[in-house]
Each structure stands twice: as structure tokens, then as C-alpha cells.
């Protein structure tokens, strides 16, 4: 005979103000099999939990129903409390009186009735609950970090410094990401390369970090603590061990007119190239799409000049298989290009550039060696216009969100311009200035007050060229929507920060959720900002939303701590709420007929075929078997099995049936 305890929580006013909790407790107490019931203001509080524990001890409860909030919120709390009192934790169930009742209904008789119904259902279910034991799985204490921008770099270093191994993969020939392209950084105007390159070098030299540049994730399988990844190492056409990084090949390569990605197309590079002088690793790769040898079968000059014979034209991509326990996604973001903006000329005016291109112009290592010169004719622009929110905060462009970093970098750009071009005039067209952050507002004020940048509050409707000038048509909304036309020599668009083109595909590969804009989704917007919904996969930096450097670094360190926590355990425990195939002994009698519909149904490839042999070693039957490490407890197989041979622990057919019957029966 069951002895079930029902614990009704008020959740302060949350449930208490809408549901008559005392009545729920009282009615529950009269249900068949219920030995004890009580209501209390905060069941999750210490005294609340003590109430449950002492009731288990004193009344000898065999099952517990906590009628409170969502199990997603506090099921672990109450199951733990039960376990502490000596009851198997899986004998505890939660009825959700908050999200399913008080938050969605008006106060009233029917609302309390619904609450009672939910408790009744679970009381019946608990009668059929079975003691279950948590599943233990080992942990591979190596982390995979995907993306070598500042976020990936920071995460790798932090994890490596806790003593664990890290494999860092970067799709480009060098790590560094966008930060390596920046000139100076807000809000302190320190040189980006100067603060970044030491960390890049540290990554390359760290004994715990294996860096695969020019590499991408090919495929992944497994689960938290036990992933297996295949990494595609794209061919660099180079024997990296032999290459000394002397760079002779890059000076001799005859293909010199390829727009440099690092310089955002404002400078050129060769077919065999190192993206920038401080690159890590500082060894070249051959860009096969542009190399004359790969295109036409002739040239091989780099091979001839290479003093160590390091060039390998016949090198192929290789696949590296690695076992890892956790993944940090740090693939960053992209910015919209001017061809996204018909109103600003669809990218046809060379002097309408992006903020990232301006960074290259302002950078001492850039194509103009840090002088602000416009792309069309290398003249120093005397009038420059910065357009904020280009694409961002614009429903019509499909980007309703604020890109967050641009208000700050515009102020930085305008400031750098004023510092470099004396007597130049700069204008910023903005919607409103978003400068939340330590020393951020002060930074923007400095641009306006000390450097004399003209901030005009209004949008730019069109940019067109006339007599060698770019006419910027805007409006000043602080002067009663007065139209303002500025004849500019150069225009910088603070184009929206967006997810990478391949973000969606990567997310699907990893089974990580993503938002409407293809940024990877955090597990909880406030309380789990670096976790994803997939256990063991964490987020860092601008792959989650546009982020500046301080935020990216904080996130990366946060993600690293999560990985370290995971690696601090030798075994992981998982809820045993998984599918099992009926295996009555001897297995020949299992009702499973070996149709393997379940195998095709399982989205996690968790079901295997198992051969049952007789003593002579002959196969007498083939059955389905669920791999407890892989099963996520989704229940899809249960619905598919035509002989009802698979059941989900914790949600068995029997339990579901009694729940439905409880609802239909009068009490």
C-alpha cells in the first residue's frame, strides 16, 4: 500500500494568490494512498525542504508529490531532498501549479479544481513509480574549442591553465578573429594587436593546447563527457614541420592581386600567403582557388624558392578523429557588407565603406599604414560621415535588434579620424547613442566635447555621388526634422553585426539551438548565458549575439569555468529516464520482434541491434538494445514500437495510462 505525501507550495503570491492551496492540500489528503498532505509558503526554502524530509522519515512515505512550480525549475531540488531522507529520488514527482495553473488562469473555483486534478494525476502516477538508479558515464577531459577569435583564445587559455587539454580549431590560416583587424579599441584606445598578439602566441606555445588552424569541424557524435569529433584539416599545401616561416614564397608568388580578407579588400595578397605579419601560426597556406599552378598547371615558383622544400602541391585534406568531453563554441560573427544597402548605392561607391574597413585604414599595420585615405583615389577625406545602425534596428531589413558594438566603435572611429586628420570634419548620424558600460558614456562624450565630432540625430535616407562628392541625405530630428545634406568625401557604415553564414549548419551539426537570426541560443537568458540546451556544449563571444571584447572575454572565462567544473568529476551522473527494451529472461522470450522500426525512429542513433546466441554460438534472435549513454529519453521509439516492447523509464505505458484514468475518474 502506497504512502504518498503531497506538498503544496504557495510560491509566495505566485500560486497562493490564485489557487486555494489549503484546499488543494486538504483534498489531496483524502485521496486513496495519500498518507500526508500539507501546504507551505515556499517549499523550496530550507524549512520547506525540511518539511518533506521529516515527513518521509516520520510517516514512512513511499512516494512524494510536490505541487509547486515547473519541474524544469525545482525537480532536482526536491528529488535531492527526498534522496537525503532516504527515499529513492525518482519516487518524487512535481505537479506544476504555477506555469500550468496560477500564471495562466484567473483566480477562481475552476482554477483550484484544475490544481487538484494535477495533483490527483501525479498521485496515481507515483503509485507506479519505480526506484531507479542514476546512470554513470566517464568523462574525457579534453575540450574542443571551435573558433580562434578572442573568445576562443581566452576560453582555450583558461581551460588549459586548469590543467586540462584543449584542441582549438580555427577555419582561417591564423587565429585572432576580428580583434586582430581592429586598430585601437574602445573605451581605452589601446592598440588591439598589442594586447591580442601575446595571447595568440601563448596559445601556440601552451603545452596543453593543440592548435589546428585552417581546420573545421567535419562531424560530431556522442554526448556530454564523451564526444567524438572528426576535424577536417584543410590542406595548406605545406609541410609545416619543414616551413620556417621565412616568407620568401609570399614575396615571389606572381599572383599578387587577390583582395586580402584581413584588410577587408582594401589591400591585396598573394596566392601563397600569411594573412598578416603577426599571424599565428606564422606559416603560409596556398589559396588553391587563385594559385596559377592549381588553376593552370604551371608556376611552382614558391616550391623553387623555398629554402627548405616545404611546399607540397599534392597534399590532401586530412581528417583528425578526436575524443573530447566538452565543446566551447566561439565562432564569432560577421558584418553586413555595403551591397546589402540599396539606399547607399549597393556597394557601388568605393568610398562608402564598412566600419571594419575603417579599422584597417586606421590601423598602423593596414594598407595605408594608419593614414585615413579613401579607397577611390587615396585622398585624405576632409568631410567624413558615419552612419549608425546601418541595417540594425530595422524591421524592414530583417534585423530588428541593436548590434550593440557600433555606437561605441563609431565614437572611436570619429575620434581617431579627428586625431589623424586635423581640420577634418566628421559627422555621425545616429538614432540614439547606446553607450552602456564602464567608461563608455564618458568615451562618447569625449568624442563629442573634446574632439568636436558632430552628432546629428537622424537617419540617412540615401547616399549618392555627384561631382566627385558623396551626397549624404539625412535629417536632423532635433531641429524639427530638418533635412540635412552633407557633401562627404567618405562615408563609413556601421553595418549590422550578424551571424556567420555557416552558423545554422554548424548549430544543426552540434544539435545546438539558435535564434531567429541564427545566433546560437543560450540555455537561459539570465541564469545560463554560456550554456546551450545541449549538455556539454558552451558558448563564448559574438557567436551568441553581437558582443564587444570585454563581454566576449568574460563569456569565454565563464564557459571555461563550466568546462573545468565538468572535468573536475571523473564520472557524470545522468537521469535514468531512458528507454529500455523489454528483456524478460531468457531473452528469446522478449516481445521485441526485431523489426527495428525503433532504430530508424531514434533521432540520437541510440538503439543498437543485439544478437542473442545459444550455447553453440548460433544466432537465435536479434533484438533491439538501447545504449543508455546515448538515449536522451525523448520517447520517439516508444511510439514507434508495434509490439510495445520499448518503455520509457519514469514515463511507462502504465504510468501514462493511470494518469489519464485518474483524470477521467471522479474522486
Amino acid at each position: 500500500m502506497s504512502k504518498i505525501g503531497v506538498f503544496v507550495c504557495h510560491c509566495g503570491e505566485n500560486i497562493g494568490a490564485t489557487v486555494d492551496c489549503a484546499r488543494v492540500a486538504e483534498t489531496s489528503g483524502k485521496l486513496d494512498g495519500v498518507a500526508y498532505s500539507v501546504d507551505y509558503k515556499y517549499m523550496c526554502s530550507d524549512p520547506g525542504q525540511s518539511l518533506i524530509k521529516s515527513a518521509i522519515a516520520e510517516k514512512g512515505l513511499t512516494g512524494v508529490v510536490v505541487a509547486a512550480c515547473s519541474p524544469r525549475m525545482h525537480e532536482p531540488t526536491f528529488r535531492k531532498a527526498c534522496a537525503e531522507a532516504g527515499l529513492n529520488p525518482y519516487m518524487c514527482e512535481m505537479a506544476n501549479l504555477r506555469e500550468h495553473v496560477s500564471w495562466v488562469h484567473e483566480k477562481g473555483e475552476a482554477t483550484t479544481e484544475k490544481a487538484i486534478d494535477l495533483v490527483r494525476i501525479l498521485v496515481e502516477k507515483v503509485k507506479y513509480n519505480q526506484s531507479l538508479n542514476a546512470i554513470k558515464v566517464p568523462v574525457t577531459k579534453t575540450a574542443l574549442v571551435i573558433g580562434g577569435g578572442i573568445a576562443g583564445i581566452q576560453a582555450s587559455l583558461d581551460i588549459a591553465n586548469t590543467g586540462h587539454k584543449v584542441i582549438l580549431i580555427e577555419k582561417d590560416p591564423s587565429i585572432g578573429g576580428h580583434m586582430s583587424q581592429l586598430s585601437e579599441t574602445f573605451p581605452t584606445l589601446d592598440c588591439s594587436q598589442c594586447i591580442l598578439t601575446p595571447r595568440m602566441v601563448e596559445v601556440a606555445q601552451h603545452p596543453n593546447i593543440t592548435l589546428y588552424s585552417y581546420a573545421e569541424l567535419e562531424s560530431i557524435e556522442g554526448f556530454i563527457g564523451n564526444f567524438k569529433a572528426k576535424i577536417r584539416r584543410k590542406s595548406k599545401s605545406l609541410d609545416e614541420k619543414l616551413c620556417t616561416g621565412c616568407g620568401l614564397c609570399t614575396t615571389k608568388c606572381p599572383v599578387k592581386k587577390i583582395p586580402s580578407e584581413f584588410n577587408e579588400g582594401l589591400g591585396m595578397r598573394t596566392a601563397i600567403y600569411v594573412p598578416f605579419p603577426q599571424a599565428v601560426p606564422n606559416k603560409p597556406v596556398i589559396d588553391r582557388e587563385h594559385c596559377t599552378y592549381y588553376l593552370k598547371g604551371k608556376c611552382r615558383i614558391c616550391e623553387k624558392v623555398c629554402p627548405t622544400q616545404a611546399i607540397r602541391f599534392d597534399q590532401k585534406d586530412t581528417i583528425e578523429e578526436v575524443e573530447i568531453g566538452a565543446i566551447v563554441l566561439a565562432t564569432g560573427f560577421s558584418v553586413k557588407q555595403p551591397d546589402f544597402f540599396p539606399e547607399y548605392g549597393y556597394g557601388k561607391y568605393p568610398d562608402v565603406i564598412t566600419g571594419l574597413q575603417f579599422e584597417r585604414l586606421a590601423s598602423a599595420s593596414g594598407p595605408t599604414l594608419g593614414e585615413i585615405r579613401r579607397p577611390s583615389d587615396s585622398k585624405v577625406p576632409q568631410n567624413i560621415v558615419f552612419v549608425a545602425c546601418a541595417g540594425s534596428r530595422d524591421e524592414a531589413k530583417g534585423i530588428p535588434y541593436c548590434s550593440k558594438i557600433c555606437c561605441m566603435y563609431i565614437a572611436k572611429h570619429a575620434m581617431l579620424y579627428q586625431h589623424k586628420v586635423h581640420g577634418g570634419k566628421s559627422y555621425v548620424f545616429y538614432m540614439d547613442i547606446r553607450a552602456g558600460g564602464k567608461n563608455y558614456e564618458e568615451f562618447v562624450r569625449r568624442a563629442i566635447e573634446e574632439d568636436g565630432v558632430n552628432y546629428v540625430r537622424g537617419r540617412v535616407s540615401r547616399i549618392y555621388e555627384k561631382n566627385g562628392k558623396l551626397i549624404v541625405k539625412g535629417v536632423d530630428t532635433l531641429l524639427g526634422a530638418m533635412p540635412v545634406d552633407i557633401e562627404a568625401d567618405m562615408v563609413v557604415l556601421a553595418t549590422a553585426g550578424v551571424a556567420n553564414n555557416d552558423a545554422e549548419a554548424l548549430a544543426q551539426k552540434l544539435h545546438v539551438s539558435y535564434d531567429a537570426y541564427k545566433f546560437f541560443a543560450e540555455a537561459h537568458p539570465k541564469l545560463k548565458p554560456v550554456e546551450t540546451n545541449t549538455a556539454g556544449i558552451f558558448l563564448a563571444g559574438a557567436c551568441q549575439a553581437p558582443r564587444d571584447i570585454p563581454e566576449s572575454v568574460s563569456m569565454a572565462s565563464g564557459a571555461a569555468v563550466k568546462v573545468a567544473c565538468l572535468f573536475s568529476q571523473d564520472e557524470l551522473t545522468r537521469d535514468p529516464l531512458i528507454a529500455v527494451v523489454n528483456r524478460m529472461a531468457p531473452p528469446v522470450y522478449s516481445s521485441c520482434v526485431g523489426c527495428f522500426l525503433c532504430v530508424s525512429a531514434c533521432p540520437y542513433q541510440a538503439i543498437e541491434k543485439e544478437e542473442i546466441k545459444n550455447r553453440a554460438g548460433e544466432v537465435i534472435k536479434t533484438l533491439a538494445r538501447v545504449n543508455p549513454g546515448l538515449c536522451q529519453g525523448c520517447g520517439t521509439c516508444v511510439a514507434f514500437c508495434r509490439t510495445k516492447s520499448i518503455d520509457l523509464q519514469g514515463y511507462t505505458h502504465e504510468q501514462m495510462y493511470t494518469e489519464v484514468m485518474a483524470l477521467l475518474n471522479e474522486y
Partner: protein, 280 residues
């Protein structure tokens, strides 16, 4: 096949020559054009500023009439009418209750089965594919194709051409032998209805358009909207006052320019009806 025709008010009055040129070009290519019987005003800018239901009922009635007449496709040369009809079709397709209500208001069933073509779409669909060999007098002028506000906007509803930098008319004129110029005022506002109430403002807005076309060497401005035409043509006095010079670049409807290119008579195309003399 027969193509339905909704002229709208302008094409029966101040912009008669637009209708004439549309019909002349269609005739030259043996396209049967059938005017919608008993049509009414589309509501223009007035209706949708006053009453949403009215602004939908007026165009819906026109479309219902076309349905009743058995027309599956209609051409609407006026950009404003085209906009109102298409917006109505879009809004009623999205809201069945509203659709029923509007049918009730009009006392006439509205199905939403008619395909609406603007003039460029009509030309692209039925004429340009058959243009080869027909261009006997290439319109070899530098032309500024002016689209105005309503032909391409709002893009989400019309889904026609590129909203800020449209190309369709330019491509068409290229086929007629003209050289379209790249300019900045393709979709800027001409002043529209302010023509009557604030002629001065139209002088400025249209002046900017004509001024830019002139500065970039255009020899003709090509339009596809009666409102644009009357502002750029009829208000040339105010435009010239604004510009402080006498600019005599003529303004032609796209069908007029095309008509000339295929050798139609100037008078047949109504070119004699313009304020700025068409010397081309």
C-alpha cells in the same frame, strides 16, 4: 488572350496620352485590351487616409468587376492605382473576415483571382520578348528612368524590382535602344499630390529630380506614372524657377518612348499633349 485594362481617372483626363500610348503599343503587338466595365476610382491617396474599409472596398470593387468580366489578368498603368489595387489584394488575401466584409460592402463577391500587372511587368511579359527586329527607330538617347515612389514600394507587398535602386525600366529602355544613365533620384518623391496644394514644394522636389537628370546628361526622362509625369512636365515652370535656369528635357511615358522606337506615330502616342515639347 485578352488583357484587362484599368485606366483609372488620370488616364481618362490629364494623362490621356499615357492611355493612348499603352493602347497603341499593345495594338502594334496584337494584344487585345479590354477595359473593365463600370470601373470606379481606386481611392488614390485620399481614401486610405480617411477610412481603411473604404480604401479597400474601392479597389476590391474594381477587381470584382474584372473577375465578373472573366479577366484573369489586368494591366494598371498608373503607379498609384497599381499600388492601391495590389495592396488591397494583399490585405484581403491575409484576412478572410475582412475579405467577406468587403464583398458585403460592395454587394459583389471578391475572389482575389485576378493577376495585377504594372506597366513594366506587362511590357516585360508580353512585349520585350517579341521586340527583336521591331525596334526600327532605336530611341538612342541618354535617358533617366524615373520610377517614383509607388511603382516599387512597399517591396514586401509588390515584390517587384529592387526597391531603392530599381533596374527594370532601365533594362527595358536599353532594349529600346536608349542609354539609361546611373543617377540618384530614381525613387525620390516628385511631390505627388502637393502639385495642387503646394505647387512651390513640387517645384523644389521635382526640381531636384530634373536637375540631377540634367547634370548627368540625360536627354529625356522616362516615367511610368501619370502623377510623376504631370509634376515633372506640367510643373516645369516652377521647376525651372527652383533651378534658376531653363531646363527643357522632355518627360516621356515608357510606352511613348517604346512606341517611338518601334516606329509608331508621335500623334498616335499623344506626344503632342505635353507641356515640355518633345523634340526627340
Amino acid at each position: 488572350m485578352t488583357l484587362g485594362f484599368y485606366p483609372g481617372c488620370s488616364l481618362k483626363g490629364s494623362s490621356r496620352e499615357y492611355a493612348e500610348s499603352v493602347l497603341a503599343v499593345a495594338k502594334a503587338f496584337d494584344i487585345a485590351i479590354e477595359e473593365i466595365q463600370d470601373w470606379n476610382c481606386c481611392g488614390a491617396t485620399a481614401a486610405h487616409n480617411m477610412n481603411r474599409e473604404l480604401s479597400l472596398a474601392l479597389p476590391a470593387r474594381i477587381l470584382s468587376l474584372a473577375e465578373k468580366q472573366g479577366l484573369s489578368e489586368i494591366v494598371v498603368p498608373c503607379a498609384a492605382c497599381y499600388s492601391r489595387l495590389t495592396v488591397t489584394q494583399h490585405e484581403l488575401a491575409a484576412d478572410q473576415t475582412l475579405k467577406a466584409r468587403i464583398s458585403e460592402v460592395n454587394g459583389m463577391e471578391y475572389k482575389g483571382s485576378v493577376t495585377i500587372l504594372n506597366i513594366i511587368q506587362m511590357l516585360d511579359k508580353y512585349i520585350t520578348p517579341r521586340l527583336e527586329g521591331k525596334v526600327v527607330k532605336p530611341f538612342n538617347k541618354k535617358v533617366a528612368c524615373y520610377y517614383g515612389c509607388l511603382l516599387v514600394r512597399p517591396h514586401e507587398i509588390l515584390k517587384f524590382d529592387r526597391e531603392e535602386d530599381p533596374q527594370s525600366m532601365d533594362e527595358l529602355m536599353l532594349k529600346a535602344g536608349a542609354t539609361p544613365i546611373d543617377w540618384a533620384f530614381k525613387t525620390e518623391c516628385c511631390g505627388a499630390g502637393l502639385s495642387v496644394s503646394r505647387t512651390h514644394s513640387v517645384g523644389k522636389l521635382s526640381g531636384l529630380i530634373v536637375g540631377d537628370a540634367k547634370d548627368r546628361g540625360a536627354e529625356a526622362i522616362i516615367v511610368a506614372c501619370p502623377m510623376c509625369h504631370s509634376n515633372l512636365d506640367m510643373r516645369r515652370k516652377e521647376i525651372n524657377e527652383y533651378l534658376g535656369e531653363k531646363v527643357d528635357i522632355p518627360v516621356l511615358y515608357v510606352t511613348q518612348a517604346l512606341g517611338l522606337a518601334i516606329g509608331l506615330d508621335k500623334k498616335e502616342l499623344g506626344l503632342n499633349r505635353h507641356f515640355v515639347k518633345v523634340t526627340v
